[in-house]
């Protein structure tokens, strides 16, 4: 007791150990911590206080640096949001191309600054709408696209030289990228003006989202085809958006999200180098897509760690010389799995806080989820609140006025370093065991994610993790507290009719010739994109083009891991 009094009377502890022994110990005796141990959402231990002692291994000049300079910890642009706020990019997609085009226009009218598209399951998996497995799924979770004619309708009245557009598609991405190029050119947009992004990150399909067609190694080759093609044909287009989003929503930790995503980016770039392309030819157009979960600081640090680690991987591991190759440019989306069906109004608060983390982490563009998305495609009213959330952050909260405002925080810098180290060690483990394709084929990555997902579920059920409105502060549930989103019941019929009409009226010889050329390119291991674009121009369907490659590569059957 005497010691405590002494400490309280003195001007302050000379170091953290003294503070722990005196001031902290006395306080803990009176009011113990509310739980034995604290961790991040990903399970990294968290101390009660971070001090300068925690930054002993961190060199401020080398490891933190300045925005717009290697290692980009503080941001890829020197001015960040002072020059231009992040792009408000809400993903949209349902029904037919006309339906989604209408949603685009609604979003742009309410201040969205970039477009993003979800495709329906048949399109994602390379089936035409009239395929038997496609019919029940047409237009349900995204827009249905069968031919380039659908993409013309999808992008109608959207000035593609001014609005950048992102396409969320992977297994059949090579077809949709070709369709986008054809449509942009038909609008009179010059090749060097075409901007936009296609997700085209097939590796995370095998580990998380499961919308794949071909065996992983062949699918990676197809990704490299698009990278090589886009670098020449659309130099400002991002042909790959390496995505941690789905890995995280599948239940991974933040460390696993970082590791498996950066390892996938590394795989695409090194495969391109293997093909004889230079890293600096492809790496500058590789972008990233992250999931922003509920642990506020961990998510901010994750984006900072991703920038520093990717920069180092590209510069030192791959040997890229162009600083643009070192920059981890990112789109972020608030976490879908964190949304609750119960008390959906709470999702507005969750999403706003996640969005703040994305901004403080230095994202280049952002999608904020809508409150009703635990059940359905968001209604117009709900998606408007999501857009307004970003506008409030950009225009009212002044969080866009200082670059990397949390840089230098003892906790933030320490956690950034820890995430980077943990992720790097997991990436090295993947590389040591033969790389991403090997670690997918033997189920290593899927098992890691499934274990993390199960551990979280157990923590929720044991009430070690809380979900407000679900396992704490729950209320009796009433009727759906929002308007149900209803799809036009006639949409499937309309879509099938249009596609079948196009199939009848096109120049069949040209289609057959172009599809043959796609097949030959694939068999001869030449780039499949030029012939794919030819097939698209001849009105070949997504299903026809993907079927040709099914014939060459076969279909992948994944190991079942749970």
């Amino acid at each position: 007791m005497d010691k405590t009094k002494e400490a309280a009377a003195s001007p302050g502890s000379p170091d953290v150990e003294t503070w722990k022994r005196t001031t902290l110990a006395a306080s803990v005796k009176r009011i113990p911590p509310r739980q034995e141990a604290f961790t991040t959402l990903s399970g990294l231990p968290v101390k009660e206080l971070y001090t300068a002692d925690d930054l002993q291994g961190v060199d401020p000049a080398k490891d933190i640096g300045f925005p717009g300079e290697y290692p980009y910890t503080r941001g890829v642009h020197p001015t960040m949001y002072r020059a231009r706020p992040w792009t408000i990019r809400q993903v949209a997609g349902f029904g037919t191309a006309e339906d989604t085009n209408g949603r685009y226009k609604y979003l742009l009218a309410h201040g969205e600054t970039g477009l993003s598209t979800d495709f329906d399951l048949p399109t994602l998996l390379g089936y035409d709408s009239d395929h038997p497995v496609a019919v029940p799924e047409i237009g349900k979770i995204g827009v249905a696209v069968d031919t380039v004619d659908d993409v013309h309708l999808l992008m109608k009245d959207i000035p593609l030289d001014q609005v950048s557009t992102s396409y969320t598609i992977n297994a059949s991405a090579f077809v949709l990228m070709g369709m986008y190029e054809v449509v942009a050119k038909a609008q009179g947009v010059r090749a060097e003006q075409i901007t936009g992004t296609i997700q085209n990150d097939i590796l995370k399909e095998y580990t998380a989202q499961n919308e794949y067609i071909y065996p992983p190694a062949d699918a990676v080759r197809l990704v490299v085809d698009t990278m090589e093609y886009a670098a020449k044909a659309m130099p400002r287009y991002n042909p790959v958006s390496v995505s941690g989003y789905h890995i995280r929503d599948a239940g991974s930790t933040a460390v696993q999200e970082l590791a498996f995503t950066l390892a996938a980016g590394h795989c695409y770039v090194t495969e391109a180098v293997e093909r004889g392309l230079s890293a600096d030819f492809v790496a500058p157009r590789v972008s990233f897509f992250w999931n922003i979960q509920n642990d506020f600081f961990e998510e901010i640090c994750k984006l900072r760690a991703a920038r520093r680690l990717w920069g180092r991987m590209m510069r030192d591991w791959v040997g890229a010389k162009d600083p643009r190759s070192w920059m981890m440019r990112a789109h972020s989306q608030t976490s879908s799995v964190s949304l609750t069906a119960q008390q959906p109004g709470n999702n507005i608060a969750r999403t706003a806080i996640q969005a703040l983390a994305a901004v403080l982490g230095g994202t280049q563009s952002l999608h904020t989820n809508s409150k009703d998305e635990a059940y359905q495609i968001p209604s117009e009213g709900a998606i408007k609140i999501a857009v307004r959330t970003q506008q409030i952050l950009a225009l009212e909260n002044r969080v866009a006025d200082v670059v990397d405002p949390l840089g230098g925080s003892y906790y933030v810098e320490s956690l950034t370093t820890e995430l980077e180290e943990e992720a790097e060690s997991l990436i090295r483990e993947v590389l040591d065991r033969g790389g991403m394709v090997q670690s997918i084929e033997d189920g290593f990555i899927q098992r890691q994610i499934a274990d993390a997902s199960a551990a979280y579920q157990q923590a929720v059920e044991a009430k070690r993790e809380f979900i407000v409105g679900v396992n704490v502060h729950a209320e009796p549930e009433g009727d759906l507290p929002f308007e149900p989103f209803v799809l036009d019941p006639g949409l499937a019929e309309r879509q099938i009719k249009r596609t079948q009409g196009i199939r009848r009226s096109r120049a069949q010889a040209e289609v057959a010739g172009a599809l043959k050329a796609v097949e030959e390119a694939a068999r001869n291991r030449e780039n499949t994109m030029p012939s794919t674009v030819r097939a698209i121009e001849a009105h070949a369907t997504v299903g026809e083009i993907c079927d040709v490659l099914r014939g060459v590569y076969g279909e992948y059957r994944a190991p079942i891991v749970y």
Partner: protein, 132 residues
């Protein structure tokens, strides 16, 4: 009790979002049941065949793509056609409350929405088994 309950967990249709399917498969397994997880991309025919071949007591369907009513009707209809009466069919996923009635009317015994604890689902299956 002669043998452990045999549960087929299946994901019908083209959707790959299998986090929930894997979680419930584990939960059934941890509860001492024998679990056959089909994996993704299952057609109605594939699921019905698995139920018959595996001599399943329970069929758990996980659907997050809006096709719940389509597959509830198709799968329960096909099971009836095959003369399967004793199999308990349950469904989990993002099924709006307004659709639960029609899904149950097609033959699904219970629908478990987002946020359901795995224990609730395991208990439901156990109670059904005890009452049988």
């Amino acid at each position: 009790m002669s043998r452990p309950l045999r549960v087929v967990v299946a994901k019908p249709g083209l959707d790959g979002h299998d986090r929930g399917a894997k979680i419930i498969a584990r939960a059934f397994r941890d509860a001492g049941m024998e679990v056959i997880y089909t994996g993704i991309f299952q057609t109605t025919e594939m699921i019905v065949r698995t139920v018959l071949e595996e001599d399943a007591d329970v069929l758990g369907l996980s659907i997050l793509s809006g096709t719940h009513l389509h597959f509830a009707e198709e799968i329960c209809g096909a099971l009836k056609e095959q003369g399967v009466k004793e199999v308990l069919v349950v469904m989990g996923g993002t099924i709006p409350p307004t659709d639960i009635g029609p899904v149950k009317a097609s033959g699904v015994a219970e629908v478990f929405g987002p946020g359901t604890a795995t224990g609730t689902i395991v208990d439901f299956v156990r109670r059904w088994h005890e009452a049988r």
